[in-house]
């Protein structure tokens, strides 16, 4: 009677909870109903013994932790062969982690969630790393001994290709920056003559850096990295061959298009020749203008003046260049 009433109450309880137990549960309940009266209200652990509602197996007692059986010279790579969460019973260290509550000490390792949350490197001890590397060594190859410096690499392998790879956790494995390819090459390592070099620099515009003499081509228009690499090499090839060509309209290159300053056929030359001619004409009579010109240009003072003006225009105004120009002008005008 009591068992049946208990069963009905238990059933009603479970029904309100939304569970549906069945015959097995009923038999258990009938058994537990007889147990509940014999048990004391408190067991040794300090938890009150509640009547068991539902299929519960008696809890097994855990044995001694593994750490007590560990020797000092054991093989740790056998305890943690791969990445595993922190097991307090398997790690023989007296580790504590946590905020010291009530001016106490950090919590012990047993049941410590903070220790379990943080990624541990117990599987990557130096001994384990050495073992792994010994196994991986046969798959590695040696770097050629003759390429021992950056200069040697630059000399024999002038083209540099940069690309990126990414490893991260997320909803997608893809990273759009993976397909970008950057090609860097020094123009001095390519077979270019003067005209080809100037034309190449004009063709690439911003992609050429004058200080380091490096051409940088960045390709990211294709969806795959291999395609972008092929496109970059194609661009380099085309630039190279196009710069060797001389088009018909290149003959119309004006003074404004020139990269460097040339003193020949410039206003400075004309002015100098006029000045010197007038200085001469005061002393001598009429002469053949062509011969006079050649003679004037051949003078060392004029040559020096030419050097100073070219240097001033190409390198910019520094104290050195200005002084050189001053000296040249003084010598030219006999001042």
């Amino acid at each position: 009677m009591s068992a049946s009433t208990m069963c009905t109450t238990a059933l009603s309880f479970t029904r309100t909870n939304g569970l549906c137990l069945g015959n097995y549960a009923l038999s258990l309940l009938s058994r537990t109903a007889t147990y509940s009266t014999a048990l004391s209200t408190n067991n040794g652990k300090g938890f009150p013994n509640r009547p068991i509602r539902g299929p519960r197996r008696p809890k097994r007692e855990s044995g001694a932790p593994r750490t007590e059986k560990m020797l000092e010279n054991q093989d740790w790579t056998a305890v943690y062969p791969s990445a595993a969460p922190f097991k307090p019973s398997a790690v023989p260290l007296p580790v504590r982690m946590g905020y010291p509550v009530n001016r106490g000490v950090p919590a012990e390792k047993k049941g410590n969630l903070e220790l379990m949350k943080i990624p541990n490197f117990l599987h990557l001890t130096p001994a384990a790393i050495q073992k792994h590397c010994d196994a991986l060594k046969p798959f590695c190859t040696e770097w050629p001994a003759s390429l021992d410096s950056d200069a040697a690499c630059e000399e024999h392998f002038p083209i540099q290709l940069e690309s990126k790879e990414f490893v991260s956790a997320g909803s997608s494995l893809r990273n759009p920056k993976t397909r970008v390819v950057t090609l860097k090459v020094k123009l001095s390592s390519l077979n270019l003559d003067e005209h080809a070099r100037k034309k190449m620099v004009k063709l690439v515009d911003d992609r050429y850096c004058k200080e380091t003499d490096t051409l940088t081509i960045v390709t990211e228009s294709c969806p795959l990295r291999q395609q972008n690499y092929d496109y970059a090499m194609y661009l380099l090839t085309v630039l190279y061959h196009e710069s060797w060509k001389t088009e018909v309209w290149e003959a119309e290159k004006t003074r404004a298009d020139m990269e460097e300053y040339h003193w020949e056929d410039s206003r400075s030359q004309k002015n100098v020749l006029d000045t010197l001619r007038r200085m001469r004409v005061t002393s001598e009579g009429e002469e053949d203008p062509g011969a006079v010109r050649e003679e004037l240009l051949g003078q060392p003072e004029v040559q020096e003046y030419r050097e100073s003006v070219t240097r001033l225009k190409n390198e910019g105004e520094t104290e050195e260049t200005m002084l050189q120009y001053r000296e040249a002008v003084k010598k030219l005008l006999n001042v």
Partner: protein, 206 residues
């Protein structure tokens, strides 16, 4: 035992990729004594984390064969790891540098770029109370390991090893700088050999 398990894992991964040597300009490949079907079933088994049966999977150690293909050369490989916890990155740096030394890879700079803090300010309450807000910040710590002058095979091995042991919550960015010779078609201008060829139309230079 730990070591055989590790060999099995790595070779299983390696069987899917191709290795090269530069010594005699040859490629190194893995060729075991098992057939292709066995590879696919074994590689599936190797991917499940907790079931390692070492002796039963491989009958003998896989042999390394050399293939004719020149190895790529990398002047610099930069490995940048990012994470929210500095101590985890410290441990990872120790692991990566030790692994590089063991594999005989020359290390360049190993340094710590300054951390980046992203802050945001949100309203504390669901409705009104504009004057009361709460601020959160996300700190990203970085660590950069530069390898100098490595071959393609070695880089593949090292990166695979490093990436497989990347801890949770850490991301990695690898920048590789490969070096190459000037290709044959750029050695000399083609106009010397074929002057009669029609000059090609403008290509996509810009």
């Amino acid at each position: 035992m730990a070591a055989p398990i590790v060999i099995v894992r790595n070779v299983g991964a390696v069987a899917r990729t191709v290795f090269r040597t530069s010594r005699a300009l040859h490629k190194v490949d893995i060729c075991g004594t098992y057939d292709r079907q066995a590879i696919s079933s074994q590689s599936w088994r190797l991917q499940t984390p907790a079931t390692f049966h070492t002796a039963s999977v491989f009958r003998s150690a896989p042999a390394i064969t050399v293939i004719d293909e020149p190895d790529t050369l990398y002047q610099k490989v930069e490995v940048l790891v990012k994470g929210h916890d500095k101590t985890v990155l410290d441990s990872y740096e120790f692991f990566a540098t030790l692994a590089a030394k063991e594999l005989g890879i020359g290390l360049g700079k190993v340094y710590e770029p300054p951390k980046h803090i992203e802050k945001l300010t949100v309203l504390k309450s669901v409705h009104i109370f504009k004057k009361h807000r709460v601020q959160y910040e996300m700190r990203t710590h970085y660590r950069c390991i530069e390898l100098s002058r490595v071959t393609g095979s070695t880089v593949q091995v090292y990166l695979e090893y490093i990436q497989r042991n990347l801890p949770e919550g850490v991301a990695m960015e690898v920048t590789k700088t490969a070096i190459e010779k000037v290709p044959e078609h750029i050695q000399k201008p083609m106009w010397d050999d074929a002057p009669k060829e029609e000059q090609a139309s403008q290509s996509g230079e810009k």
